[in-house]
Amino acid sequence: MATLCEGFTLCGLVQTQNASDSPIQGIELDEDSDHAVVTDSTRSVTLYKVSDQKPLGSWTVKQGQLLTCPAVFNFQTKEYVVVSDNKVIRVWKDEDLNLDKAFKATVTADVWRVHSAPGGEPVVLFQRGAVRFLDSLLSAPQQPIEDVLSEEEVIRWSASIVAEEQHFVLFTTEQNGECCLYVQRLNPNTLQKYRLEREDSGASPLSFSASLRDKHLNLLYLYPNGCVYQSVVAARGYVGLEGVQDLPRSLRLRLPVGEGELGAASAVALDEAHVAVVGVPHPSARTGKDFLCIWNTNFQTLQAGILRNWSFVWCYLGKLFVPHGKALSIIPYECQKSSLASALGKLRHTGIAVSKSSVAVPSWNTLLHGDQPQGPTKIVETRKSVRNVKLGVNCVQPQPHQTGPVDEVQREVEVLVSRGDAQDLQLSVGQLACHLVARSQAETAFYTPVALAQLVQTQFLCHSVCPGLLLLSLEHKDYFLCQLCLQLFPDIPEVVTCACLKTFISNEVLQTPYSDNFLLPHLKDLDTQQVILFLQYLQFVYLKYSQDVYTQTAGLRSPTMTQIIDWVCLLLDAHFTVLVMAPDAKGLLSNLQSFVKSQVKLFSELGKIESSLQELHKMKLSKDISQYSIEVIELF
């Protein structure tokens, strides 16, 4: 699960003429993790203390000169390095006030970027593809620089990665619509060229992001059609390979692009499962591409999103740096280690999930490798279709749900639901539900419980497609719909779960998927009386089940013992101090305590006989060899 925290503005920015250009060239870190070196698109480099949101120093080149590459911090010499006017490398220290008086060296070829990373020497990447260590370059600035790239090949993006003993410079080039990835290994120097697979549209990637995981270089790139691909290059090996290799890719994410193609967008890999994307539409928003979203690539789920106007993103140490409008925003984020449970929350009891709901958890494999998931992966399909069909339903023809009275809407829904075409249905159900919810929220008099229930029962809906639905039903105290949503939505946020809890206690709530970490803060919102009531209820349910544990029928929607115990634990965790003080909770707590005691005793006794039982289990039934048998043997 990933969350975006409240962002803040680091600094103002000078608006550039062309809105699609970024007003800043780059953001780099220095040795203090709280510092950010921001290079704007023209002449100045500013060092900020991020937590204080204030500049610590600023350096500007003379009027007429232009910074042509983002400033970097040389971690070995504690100096800053920047390039102006393509050929002049400037090196200065923190205490230097004037950039003009700092060390300068003019080199013979145009520099594309200077890259620096902790643990490695800075490297200079020239526009024609040559790579030099900064030190060796500065010791002989006039040394000839060879051309690596062909005449019309231009570098689009570059990065440097330092692994344990390996230093890589990666850059991508473009030439006549063909994109290539160069992997330059340093010490010993080898260069490997890979050809990126062409996208059908012929478009070039909008953005690249590289990372090192498990001794492999991962390259993530976003195309204007919304596809995010990943390619993997082994960090070791392949040294001996000559010529151009084809770089295989795998589709990690297909982002909704809305109308037309993406113009300026950027995707950054946050960790192995999460990607931050800017400049793409939010799947449930009707218009606009100005969202920052975090997607889980394993599950193709949207994890968080904020509406802003931006198109570039940098990511350092748990913070996203996003320039937008006139300011550079910093948005801290949190990505939990991806696992099935944390991505979808605690899962429903499988027996129930399978028998009662077809919203099964899609398998990883189909998600990762299958472009068109089939069968049970309806959620994914739903989302995809919603994304892909450009929210077109309402644009094409006026529908009664826009303005019509309740019964007309009801009819429309019935017609829709009775249609057999599953693919279309998925689309329109999501659309329709969103519209209905939106309208209900706007017009207090308008509420269509039956229609909504029907939509929910199609099982094509989930919470993230139509976030307002459950809250709306809560608002209207439509507990039937609530129950239905709780039953059928696999992705109800914990805050909503708690909101439901405040309103009513059900079995259904207990079975909602959740993640402990996210549920806990919301549970704290419950007041003491609610907690005591809830605990009493849980205790009742538990005792009831523990008495006739075997009579639980699979078809019945009832929480499992484990679910009940988990909830008890969570509640106690959240409210223990309060409960201890509350006099009316005393009996309950002592009951629970004695219960736990007896359980602990039982388990310790069970533990004692466990090994004996295991031995029994292991004991092979010794072959009863009787006095006589006729056997068949085979000799070879």
């Binding site: 060899i625 006589y628 048998s629 068949v632 085979e634 000799l635 070879f636």
Partner: protein, 686 residues
């Protein structure tokens, strides 16, 4: 190679009897071993501990002690008789009443001129060893209480005698007791019980070592009669002692099943002169009483209640790991106790006192390898035939058609006609037997059941013709020259033309039965043949020897076959040669002339002569590997020796005419479970 249906038989309740005494002849390197049932076995220690002779027991005979005088073997027992054995005819030569009541022990002097026996009546009797006989000489001074054990001083002048609560030293020339060594009783409750001195050893330096029922091994000075050292080694009895030839080591066997070694060494390196008897090692190879012990040059040989013979090599006597340096346990006799009627599917089990005839069960099911098939018919014990007289059965035979059965004791041969129709079996004793047929070392029927062959004295073979009505002497096949040793293996060819007989001098004679003449003598190999068989179609004879060598001899061409030469040239695989039990049965697959089936106690082997021979680098036990290989890979890994170890403790493996295997197992555990409870059982963490 294919699938085999296996009759896995475990209903042969073979039960060896306990070992009571043993004597090692260092000159001929033969070990004589006496069992509780009175039988005596001779093991050849120069030939892979092969059991070359078995003298059957007798009900009234109980052997307490054995003694070699030169190549002559004497025994004495609680029946009060001294017996000398005829090792050529495998029977007692004569028995002599000693008139001293039960005899506990018999010894000879080093010169081999005199025997001494210890009697229940308290006398030590001396006998003079004559050429063909022994003659009573005199009694030593009669003592109160029985003489349990004796030991002759190497010089011949003194005899130490273990008695109850004491040891007496006699001066042989005068016959007077010169020393009285009092042996302490046990502690605690056993104080009231007399201490039995089960064993004494008289060393050259007049040291007397004794082992007694109080669990002590004591060292005495025989000159002064003083106790030098007491080693309390067990809570139970010390039953047997044996001294090494150089008198530097004494081993003691106890009721706990342990053998404890004492060595005459200096306790410190500096005082080499002050040697003393120090307890050094403990060997535990038995679960029950160790009643018989012999310390030979390189090993300790022990036996007792748990019926198996153990040869425990003393590893310091070996420079390198070799065949001889491995521990040997001899559980089963090195001869066949099971006869199999291949056509009729009958099994004959030989016990000392009776014969059992069984019909194998049947199954009409088919199964895949590893399956156990459902039984359509259970095996059935058709006959229990008790022997007549006191003498134990020494050999037996069943004709392959199942129509004839014969057995022999040292005193008589009996032949029976068997008739089975459906479920009824009738047995008729053949009443008139030829006079020449008095006893046999081996019996066998020709494959068409028209003749019976009986191995008789001096390596001769009697040919008896069998008809429905009578049984007629035909001829005696007698070697003109050569060995007079008893025949221990005999086999005939299927076509009825050839008879091969092997004796314990390693000679194999092949007779032409049509001409009733010696056909040839197979070149004598230095190791005793342990099994042999004549191929049904080629008439090639496969012979396996005690040293595991394998030969194939063409009877017709009177020479080794090419396959045999190839095998000898290449050499048998070391894994094959390192096996420690002899092959006791050779049989052939009538459907596949390339296949020879043979077995020892731990495995059976089908040799496929059409396959390449394994060289030393080849994985010898390769069945598991072959099983794991694919059909295509297999042929390149095949070799001629297909060994199956699925069945263990084998007494017989044979191939019936219907191509199914018969495997007779006698699990050692089943034997152990019939033994009395040991005095001491190993408990966990004790």
């Amino acid at each position: 190679m294919g699938e085999f249906k296996v009759h896995r038989v475990r209903f042969f309740d073979y039960m060896p009897t306990a070992i009571r005494a043993m004597a090692f002849n260092a000159h001929t390197e033969r070990l004589a071993l006496a069992r509780m049932d009175g039988s005596v076995e001779i093991f050849n220690f120069t030939d892979h501990y092969f059991q070359e002779k078995v003298i059957p027991g007798k009900d009234s005979r109980s052997t307490e002690s054995l003694c070699w005088v030169g190549g002559r073997l004497f025994s004495a027992g609680l029946n009060g008789e001294i017996t000398e054995y005829d090792l050529e005819n495998l029977r007692p030569k004569y028995s002599l009443e000693a008139y001293g009541g039960p005899i506990w022990t018999i010894i000879s002097n080093t010169q081999g001129t005199q025997l001494a026996i210890g009697c229940e009546d308290g006398t030590v009797k001396l006998f003079e060893v004559l050429e063909e006989h022994i003659q009573f000489e005199r009694n030593l001074d009669r003592q109160k209480g029985r003489i349990i054990s004796l030991s002759w001083h190497p010089s011949g002048t003194h005899i130490a005698a273990g008695m109850m609560d004491m040891i007496r030293v006699f001066d042989v020339p005068t016959g007077h007791a010169v020393q009285r060594l009092l042996v302490d009783r046990g502690f605690g409750g056993s104080k009231s019980q007399e201490t039995v001195v089960w064993s004494v050893a008289f060393l050259s330096d007049h040291t007397v070592v004794s082992g007694d029922s109080a669990g002590k091994v004591q060292v005495w000075d025989g000159h002064t009669g003083t106790l030098v050292k007491t080693h309390l080694v067990t809570k139970w009895d010390v039953l047997a002692l044996s001294v090494s030839k150089d008198e530097s080591s004494v081993v003691a066997g106890t009721s706990e099943g342990t053998v404890i070694q004492f060595q005459f060494i200096a306790p410190t390196l500096h005082q080499q002169q002050d040697k003393e008897w120090v307890r050094t090692r403990t060997f535990k190879n038995h679960t029950h009483d160790v009643r018989a012990l012999a310390e030979i040059e390189t090993a300790i040989v022990s036996g007792g209640m748990d019926t198996h013979l153990v040869v425990r090599p003393l590893l310091e006597k070996f420079d390198e790991k070799s065949h001889a340096s491995g521990l040997r346990k001899i559980h089963f006799p090195h001869r066949n106790l099971v006869s199999c009627a291949k056509k009729a599917g009958l099994l004959l089990f030989q016990f000392p006192g009776q014969l059992e005839l069984w019909r194998l069960g049947d199954s009409d099911g088919h199964g895949k390898p590893g399956d156990r098939l459902p039984l359509k018919r259970k095996p059935e014990k058709l006959l229990l035939l008790k022997r007549k007289g006191e003498d134990h059965i020494c050999c037996s035979a069943l004709s392959s058609c199942g129509g004839w059965l014969a057995y022999s004791t040292v005193s008589c041969v009996r032949i029976y006609r068997l008739q089975t129709d459906n479920n009824n079996i009738s047995i008729t004793k053949v009443s008139k037997l030829p006079k020449a047929l008095r006893s046999a070392h081996q019996l066998c029927f020709s494959s068409d059941s028209s003749k019976m062959f009986a191995a008789s004295s001096q390596s001769s073979v009697l040919v008896i013709a069998l008809t429905q009505s009578e049984c007629k002497y035909v001829h005696t096949l007698k070697p003109k020259s050569g060995s007079r040793q008893p025949i221990h293996l005999m086999t005939t060819s299927v076509d009825g033309k050839w008879l091969a007989a092997a004796n314990s001098d390693c000679e194999i004679r092949v007779y032409n039965l049509q001409k009733l003449k010696l056909h040839c003598i197979v070149p004598v190999y230095g190791s005793c043949p342990s099994a042999m068989g004549i191929h049904p179609t080629t008439n090639n004879m496969t012979v396996v020897h005690a040293d595991q060598q394998l030969f194939e001899y063409s009877i017709v061409e009177k020479q080794y076959t090419d396959w045999s030469r190839k095998l000898q040239k290449q050499g048998l695989h070391n894994v094959w040669l390192d096996r420690d039990t002899p092959v006791t049965h050779v049989t052939f697959n009538p459907k596949n002339p390339n296949q020879v089936v043979l077995h020892d106690m731990h495995m059976f082997c089908i040799i496929d002569q059409s396959l390449p021979l394994p060289d030393q680098k080849t994985q010898f036990y390769n069945q598991m590997t072959l099983r794991s290989l694919s059909e295509q890979e297999r042929p390149s890994h095949l070799h001629a020796f297909k060994i199956c170890k699925t069945f263990q403790d084998l007494l017989c493996v044979s191939l019936l005419d219907d191509q199914s295997l018969v495997v007779v197992e006698r699990p050692l555990l089943a034997i152990t479970s019939q033994l009395p409870a040991p005095v001491r059982q190993k408990k966990f963490a004790t």
